[in-house]
Symmetry: D2
Subunit: 391 residues, 4 copies
């Protein structure tokens, strides 16, 4: 039985939902995980119909409460091994909490919650229960993100002096929300919370920075502009940061930068060297050392060298799952999240300890850090961009 | 039942096999196809053990003959819906023929066969039986390949005047075959046939050219060099072509070009414009028109414009499955092959007609065209690069 | 005589000076301007010797005062037509003022002066005398800068909403000043003024933004860090701006970003489209429109199209001086500055009016705007990054 | 006097000539060379008028014979130090020969002559007279070309196994010759000789290959197509080569590849590594080693490293004339040719020996090699692409 695919349940994902589709591809990609049930839609009747009409028939539930109650009542091996929450932002907290309390592991879309209080509640619940919990910061799943992390954390770039992490889009440059439901809830404070651009994509940029450097923002001075007329929430976001090692940094995001698709990028400048990474070109990592040629490392073709020294074997192996030059993309990154989460769930189910290798998925604490960052940014913005502590 | 996942059987894929892994990810990716059985290895005992130890337990068979016999005896709905053949080159023909004769659809790795006679036999068998048959020219599965095809075939570039299709690798620049089994069979005439570089990757470049332009090579003058000492087969391949519209073209491939990973590229020069595409950067297509700015089209962000005019709705829809700027990679391209093959198998199973949209998978005739091209190239090379007809 | 090359005099440029060399190449490049004399060094004896040992013998002067006095005393046609000031920052003001007062046109390196008071004095002196005066913001001289300006000012991108102008270097990431005289004066408040990074290269980024958009910064919130231990002046600079049309913008600069050479870039996001330009890749300009392919315009290959509409003939002609695909570089950009300055000097000398085409050189008012920007930035930085008006 | 600028005379360059303009910029760029006279046009009256109306007044001559006679009669120091020949192809030979015979150094545009017999005559004349002679293969003047040469010739890439040198343009994709005089003489056998595309730009690709590798083509199998209807000469050129070390190579050129401006590129694959260079991006050189990150070397930022080992000091110095990140372009490359030619002329004039550093200009023997290559290519093309020896 240990070899049987993990069973996954969906909360949300019906109707015109988008992110559920990449998730289900990522879940299925290895053959060792399988979506088996779902509470796909708020309206019970539609929820049941959509479950039947899913690419293949799912065990349908009329509500997430029902799903959680019924599944938790099943014996291990029959019940879902984890629940994927892909509802709009304001519907993350309640099902997540109920899953944790019912002992069901959760893979939750970001941002974790609508406010810091909710986030604190989830952190406490996870701590208490020990249930595996992941937040979908997908870009952590790129292999090159892990190489970048290895390089920075090994001290190869020296002390981090400056980081510039950005995520630029252009799809909200016009009033897309008048037609597109994906846009509509994002610009609506009731569904999205206190920030649109910062919360939706600025947090990705923050998470990339935290994950790669291991540094935390300690204070923020933020500029959150609603550029397109009629918007209540920011569609353009710039935050100046102080980091836990004393360095400065910047987190930038925009949804009005026409021509940018999902242009997420990070650059780290250390005392001994720099690195650059771009999400839209995810198979390479550029490292720059003083007086040396730029070094372009390709996933799958990276071997220990005079700069890198030895590399952890798991990192080499992970990079060689697909030969270099055959692009790993978004689905592969997302599958890596689910794959590592699967590994940790199997270990937890068997009473063992999770691997010590850093997983590519964000934890509930990471999710909370994103919420705290946005809360501090909003406070800074409302007070003439003054510096606000990120507790 | 029509909604149930298609069942897939594997022939080959055990031991240190590589290509089976991307295939199984691509098969599973949508949740609507599932590997259920396999004859994974020549040795029956190992074959059975590897089936049990597959990421999840498969129905194991000791030989492909056994798999074909047993599965074909099951009723539709229980038996495999198609068989994936991922054995070395010299073991494609026999299982493929036996599957066709048993009425089992086949998804076969390339090259189709070891020689033209075998290829002709398969073409005839498929024609007679009507069984769906696909050849795994994965790069046809990129969305941008389809956009390129649409552009060229719509006449937007005018008459095709010149095409340069290339596939460069560097992994055989040293005597990799002394250690790497993936290299060993490729340089061995008994396993690989009459060509290493030309057959292994030159055929990909050819297929890309044929698919995008709709033109056939009519004659070839080929240069096939075994550059690394001790090799019997070519590790470097250059073919000058005449095309069916009278234009000239070039198909180039190398396995000794250090620094190239899987650097497949094609450029088409027409009387009204040009296009360029690279496999390692598969999300964009560059179009150049006289006196105009270069146009870079991104998958998912392409809309009808003053150059493209209207686009087929299926092409737009297909491009928007994943938002632009979130890279689709190799697995996505491969999944598109399996997805379209699934569609055609479901239609065939239901007695309906396959869609008229060109599938992204190569047919058995396409597979034969690759074999014919290599046969002509070998003949040209052995005769001082003289022009040889590609019948 | 009108056809005779203009005569140029040098103030500064001896010893280990660097910027004089590109200038003299740019001056000489067209054959219509020629360096004839110089006060090359503070020490009179060395100044005279270096003049003799210049690539070809110059008329030497022991001091700039002497040069100005002697040249101004010569009749037009024998005396220098303009003076190039290439001294360190703190030695711009005095010779510039004396030249103006003596009726000699000035081409001055940036930054214009050490403080706003000096800058105001020069502005007033130029206004009073009518003498042609240029400041060497070389990057304005790239043809693609002018195309960018044409596009933005024609309203083709709609209203400017956001601009990000940056200039990143890495050469001061270590204590270069311990050995390199070029670094030494830049980090020394006595020679460089109140800012190193902001003044030296941040002003280039500002000038690019002002020139292309025609907008002025109205307020600034600046972060000026001295990252390398022991420095008094900033080696890293981030300024958030408010622009005169109400939009926001950012001017960024760094000298500790290892791996960046002279990585100057600007992006403009308008309500109808965006543009991107990079100094290190100066022959192309990328324009992005919603739902359209990225457009890459190449110098020399730009023709009116459905986006650009008609282009000014002078812009087309200027772009075609060297066929596209043959890179114009730094010297070409600098030569364009000197060429337009030559044109205006000839017009002034003949009593005519300068051309109405915008010259690629910065005026004395532009130079003053740079000084005002740095002054406001310093004040902001010293007051917890509060917003300071740029008058 | 040794410090005085060299005096340059022009043969050709009047009317609508193009290449004379980059040359005069390159000649003047350093201040140490100056155009002083010219026989600019076939018609004597126009020639004299155009000399007066040159950007500044030149000493005009009515014919090149007159120029050569008159200048050679002047004493050294008054007469031209070298003559630049920028006439159409069929007018290179006669003035070049007459200059040599008159003892005047020659800088001649390529191709050297119309046929091999003429080329042999010039080679013999130069050998006999000892007069400095350069052929304008401008792309040899890029610093990165010299770094590439250093790398290949030092054996750092191991034995050269394959080279692919190409030059792609699109400007003759339509019948440009109906309007454009630059196109008209190039497609006319009487002015251009036996080849248009191969001779005009294929020879640049060949020269780049010879210069960087030090290898000679020993045999060629060429394909020369006249693709645009009505043309007598090739506008598309592909040559397969055997090289003097036994390796194979390819020289490709096209004038019908719409969207390519002056897209010259070379890749060398050696047994230990590869390098790639592109003329349109001339400031970087990419080196690829097995299992190592791609290395991107930037002009001006290259220091000895674990791969390069020590570098010749002159190469380092030459690379640092302009700080890295400030692009050197076409004019800089051309100026490097004239600068090294100046150095050799000064040495010759003083009776000294030319420097042993390889100059970036092609010699008369190099020019002859280009003519021989085209002659062999034409012969191959006319004989079904058979292999023809390049003597």
């Amino acid at each position: 039985m240990t070899n049987e695919p993990l069973k996954v349940g969906l909360i949300g994902g019906g109707g015109q939902a988008f992110i559920v589709h990449p998730h289900q591809r990522a879940i299925h990609m290895d053959g060792t995980r399988r979506v088996v049930c779902g509470a796909l839609f708020p309206d019970p009747e539609q929820a049941m119909r959509q479950a039947r009409e899913w690419p293949y028939p799912l065990r349908g539930y009329g509500s997430y409460e029902e799903l959680i109650r019924a599944e938790a009542a099943l014996p291990v091996g029959e019940r879902v091994d984890y629940v994927l929450i892909v509802t709009p932002n304001h519907l993350h907290f309640d099902p997540a909490l109920k899953c944790i309390q019912a002992g069901l592991p959760v893979f939750c879309e970001k941002p974790l919650t609508m406010d810091l209080e909710q986030a604190d509640t989830l952190v406490a619940a996870v701590k208490k229960s020990g249930v595996p919990f992941a937040v979908a910061h997908t870009y952590l799943g790129h292999w090159t993100t892990h190489l970048a992390r290895h390089i920075v954390r090994s001290g190869l770039l020296g002390e981090v002096r400056w980081a510039d992490s950005s995520y630029l889009q252009g799809w909200l440059a016009a009033r897309t929300e008048d037609e597109n439901p994906q846009a509509r809830w994002r610009v609506d404070p009731k569904c999205a919370g206190a920030s649109c651009c910062g919360g939706d994509i600025g947090t990705h940029a923050l998470m990339q920075l935290r994950f790669i450097t291991g540094l935390e923002p300690t204070a923020v001075s933020a500029h959150m502009d609603a550029i397109v007329p009629g918007r209540q929430l920011d569609d353009h976001f710039v935050a100046n940061l102080r980091l836990s090692n004393g360095a400065r940094a910047m987190v930038r995001a925009s949804q009005i930068a026409i021509g940018h698709l999902n242009d997420m990028a990070i650059e780290i400048n250390g005392s001994k060297g720099s690195l650059m990474w771009r999400q839209e070109d995810p198979e390479q990592l550029r490292v720059m050392l003083p007086g040396r040629p730029d070094r372009v490392y390709w996933r799958g073709a990276v071997q220990p060298d005079e700069f890198l020294g030895e590399l952890p074997q798991w990192l080499i192996d992970e990079g060689q799952r697909l030969p270099s030059g055959h692009t790993e993309g978004f689905h592969d990154a997302m599958a890596r999240l689910h794959r590592f989460f699967e590994r940790d769930i199997r270990a937890w189910r068997d009473g063992g300890k999770p691997s010590t290798d850093t997983p590519p998925y964000a934890t509930v604490e990471d999710g909370r850090a994103g919420i705290a960052f946005i809360a501090a940014s909003v406070q800074s913005h409302r007070n003439d961009n003054q510096w606000v502590s990120c507790a």
